[in-house]
C-alpha cells in the first residue's frame, strides 16, 4: 500500500473526506448516544433496588385489601403502613428454604401520626451489613450509625425542619432517643427513604411487637438472572405475598422504558445503516470521479488488487476517523443528555409513604441519567464503523473489478 498517496489523496480532497468522515460519525454518534442513554435509563430505573443491594422486596398486603369488612385505618400514633401487615414467622421460615437466596434482611417500617404531623420510621436489621435499608449508612452526612438501642439517625432535611441537632434527644411516641447521626438520602433511594432510622429492636418495641416480626424483607439472589423463577417460587410457596423487583418500576414507568429497552438497538442500527448507505453512495460516486486515476494506475502496472488495497486504505482511515469522532460525539451527546433528570416512579408496593403524602415530591424522585463510558459499546461502535467501511470497500471492489483500463482510457 502506498501510504503517502492515501494521506495526500484524503488531504487533497478535504471536502470529500470530511463528508465521508461526518457520514460515518453521525451514524456512530447516534448509535453510541441512543445505546448509552438507553443503558443509563435502565440503570436509573434499577437504582432504587441497587441502592439496597437487593434483588427482591417481599411483603404481605394489608388485611383490608382482602377483607373489606375490616374497620378503616387509624390515623393516630405509631402504626404499620396502610399497604402491608407483619410477616409471620411462618412466612419467614418459608422464605429461608426457597432455593437460590443468597442473603435475607428484614426491616420494620412504621408510620407515626402525631400532633406535629406525619413521619416514617425505619427499623433496620443491623445483622446484614450490606442488604436492605442499612445501606443508608453510606450516606451519613454527620455522626455515626446507631450501635445500640436508644440511638437514632435522622434524615438531614427532616432534622433541619424540626430544628434537631446531632446529640439532641428526640422523642418518638413516649420514648426518648439520642440523635447520633444525620444522613442525606441519595437520588433513587426512595424505597429506603424514611425520616428516622433506628435499630430494628427499637422499632419493634415502638410497635409493641412481641413476636419481633418485620413487614419488609429484602432478598439478594445467588444468581440475579433467575429472578423471575425465584419470584414465582416465592409466590407459589406463600399465596397472597407481594414480591417486587426493579421490573415493577419498569412497568410503572411504562412506554418510554419499554421503547428504550426494545427499540434502542434497532433505532441506532437503522441510523447506522443510513450512514453506511450514505458513505457507500458517496464512495461509489467518488469511484466514477476517480476512474481516470484507476485507469492510469492499472495502465502503469498496478493490479486490480493493488488499486483496491489503496482505496480500502482510504476507506479504513475515513471509517476509523468517523468512528472515533462518532464515539466522542456520541458520548458528548449522552453526557449532555445525562444532565436531564427523569422522574422514577416507585410502585405502590414499595412506596413508603401513605397516599396523602405521595404527591409531596418525596415519592416521585427525579434521577439524573447515570451515563457512563462503556468499553463494550465503544468497541462495538468502532467495529461497526469498520464494518461500514468494509461494506463500502466491498461494493467499491465489485464496481472496480468491472472497470477495464482500456475502456476507462478510451473514454478519457
Amino acid at each position: 500500500m502506498y501510504y503517502a498517496y492515501i494521506l495526500k489523496e484524503l488531504r487533497h480532497h478535504r471536502h470529500r473526506t470530511l463528508v465521508n468522515i461526518l457520514g460515518i460519525a453521525v451514524g456512530i454518534a447516534l448509535f453510541v448516544s441512543i445505546n448509552a442513554v438507553s443503558t443509563a435509563y435502565q440503570q436509573a430505573v434499577s437504582l432504587p433496588f441497587k441502592n439496597l443491594g437487593a434483588d427482591l422486596v417481599v411483603q404481605r398486603a394489608e388485611k383490608r385489601a382482602v377483607d373489606s369488612s375490616q374497620a378503616g385505618p387509624s390515623m393516630r400514633g405509631i402504626r404499620l403502613p396502610f399497604s402491608n401487615q407483619l410477616l409471620s414467622s411462618d412466612d419467614l421460615d418459608k422464605l429461608r428454604i426457597i432455593p437460590g437466596i443468597d442473603a435475607m434482611a428484614g426491616s420494620l417500617l412504621l408510620w407515626d401520626f402525631d400532633q406535629g404531623g406525619f413521619r416514617t420510621i425505619m427499623g433496620i436489621d443491623m445483622s446484614q451489613p450490606s442488604l436492605g435499608p442499612v445501606h443508608v449508612k453510606e450516606w451519613l452526612a454527620k455522626g455515626r450509625f446507631p450501635e445500640k438501642k436508644g440511638e437514632v439517625v435522622l434524615e438531614k432535611h427532616y432534622a433541619k425542619f424540626h430544628n434537631t441537632q446531632l446529640g439532641d434527644q428526640f422523642t418518638i411516641g413516649s420514648r426518648s432517643f439520642r440523635v447520633v447521626g444525620l444522613l442525606e438520602i441519595r437520588e433513587g433511594a426512595q424505597i429506603a427513604s424514611a425520616n428516622i432510622y433506628l435499630p430494628l429492636a427499637d422499632a419493634q418495641d415502638l410497635m409493641g411487637n412481641e413476636s419481633k416480626s418485620v413487614n419488609l424483607v429484602y432478598l439478594r439472589l445467588q444468581n440475579p438472572s433467575r429472578l423471575n423463577q425465584t419470584k414465582t417460587q416465592i409466590m407459589q410457596a406463600m399465596p397472597g405475598i407481594s414480591v417486587v423487583s426493579s421490573d415493577a418500576i419498569l412497568e410503572v414507568m411504562g412506554g418510554v422504558s419499554r421503547i428504550s429497552d426494545q427499540f434502542s438497538l434497532v433505532v441506532s442500527l437503522v441510523a447506522l445503516a443510513g450512514a453506511v448507505f450514505l458513505i457507500i453512495k458517496t464512495m461509489l460516486g467518488n469511484l466514477v470521479e476517480r476512474s481516470r486515476e484507476i485507469g492510469i494506475l492499472k495502465a502503469v502496472g498496478w493490479t486490480g488488487g493493488d488499486v483496491q488495497k489503496q482505496l480500502m486504505g482510504e476507506v479504513f482511515i475515513q471509517s476509523m476517523m468517523g468512528g472515533i469522532v462518532g464515539v466522542a460525539a456520541g458520548y458528548l451527546i449522552s453526557y449532555l443528555l445525562g444532565y436531564l433528570s427523569i422522574p422514577v416512579t416507585t410502585p405502590w408496593e414499595v412506596n413508603l409513604l401513605p397516599a396523602f403524602a405521595k404527591e409531596t415530591g418525596a415519592a416521585a424522585q427525579t434521577i439524573r441519567l447515570p451515563v457512563s463510558f462503556s468499553a463494550g459499546l465503544t468497541a462495538a461502535a468502532l467495529a461497526l464503523s469498520l464494518l461500514a467501511g468494509g461494506l463500502a470497500s466491498y461494493f467499491m471492489g465489485r464496481r472496480m473489478a468491472k472497470m477495464k483500463p482500456a475502456d476507462i482510457l478510451r473514454r478519457l
Partner: protein, 237 residues
C-alpha cells in the same frame, strides 16, 4: 528478433446490436530501439492498436507477440505484471496524479509494481528528472507546471521502470506546435540514450515527420509503411 510481431490482428467491439470492426487483419513487425508512429484519422484504429500492444485489451483474433510474450494469452494479473515490467505509457492528457508531486508521480510505478529499493529508486528518479529537465521542479504539483512540463514528467514516469517499449497515444495533441516538437525530440533522445522503443500515435502530419518508421492506418487496416532516417534534435520546451 523483432520486439513486436503482430499477425492478422482483428479487434471487434459490440456497440449495442452492432459489431464495430476496429482492426481488420493488421500485421507488422517492430524492431527494438525504433521510433515508430501510427498515423491516421480519428477512428482509424490507432488507439485500439496501442491498447492491444499495451496489454490493456485483447485482440478478437490473431497473434500479438511483445518482448517474446504472446500477450493475448495473459490473464489480468499477468497483464498487469507485464505492463509494469516491459511497458511504459504516455497519454494525451498527461494523466499525472494531481495529489502527488512531480517526484512522486515518477516514483509510484516503482513502489507498487517493481518494489525497487529506496536508494536505487531515488537514483533512477533523479537521473530521469535531470534527463527531462525537471530536476528543479520536482517538488511542484501537476497543477503548478505547464502542459509541456507535465508531458516531460509523463515521459520520465514511463521510463522509470526501464521498459523495453513506451507507448504514447497522441502525446502532443494538447500541446502547441513548438512544445510538441520538443516533446517528440525528448522522446527520441531518450530512445537514443536508453535504447527503448517508442511508439506514438498522431494525426499531426508535421509531428509524423519525426518518426523513423510510420504505419498509416485507415478504417482498421495498415495501408502504408514508410521508413525514414530522422535525425534527432532538441529544443527547449
Amino acid at each position: 528478433m523483432p520486439l513486436i510481431i503482430a499477425d492478422n490482428i482483428h479487434k471487434d467491439y459490440q456497440v449495442g446490436d452492432v459489431v464495430v470492426q476496429a482492426l481488420q487483419g493488421v500485421g507488422f513487425e517492430i524492431e527494438p530501439a525504433s521510433f515508430v508512429s501510427f498515423v491516421g484519422p480519428s477512428g482509424s484504429g490507432k488507439t485500439t492498436l496501442l491498447n492491444l500492444i499495451g496489454c490493456l485489451d485483447k485482440p478478437t483474433a490473431g497473434t500479438l507477440t511483445v518482448a517474446a510474450t504472446d500477450i493475448a494469452r495473459l490473464d489480468r494479473k499477468e497483464s498487469a505484471a507485464f505492463r509494469g515490467s516491459h511497458l511504459g505509457f504516455i497519454f494525451q492528457d498527461f494523466n499525472l496524479l494531481p495529489v502527488l508531486t512531480v517526484y512522486e508521480n515518477i516514483e509510484y510505478p516503482l513502489l507498487m509494481v517493481q518494489n525497487v529499493p529506496p536508494a536505487e529508486r531515488k537514483e533512477r528518479i533523479e537521473r530521469l528528472l535531470a534527463a527531462v529537465g525537471m530536476a528543479d521542479q520536482k517538488d511542484k504539483y501537476p497543477g503548478q507546471i505547464s502542459g509541456g512540463q507535465k508531458q516531460r514528467v509523463a515521459i520520465a514516469r514511463a521510463l522509470v521502470t526501464h521498459p523495453e517499449l513506451v507507448l504514447a497515444d497522441e502525446p502532443t495533441a494538447n500541446l502547441d506546435s513548438q512544445t510538441a516538437y520538443a516533446v517528440i525530440n525528448l522522446m527520441k533522445r531518450m530512445r537514443d540514450e536508453l535504447a527503448t522503443t517508442f511508439i506514438f500515435s498522431t494525426h499531426d502530419q508535421k509531428i509524423v515527420g519525426e518518426a523513423e518508421v510510420i504505419f498509416r492506418l485507415e478504417d482498421g487496416s495498415i495501408v502504408a509503411k514508410e521508413m525514414k532516417g530522422g535525425a534527432s534534435h532538441d529544443e527547449s520546451l
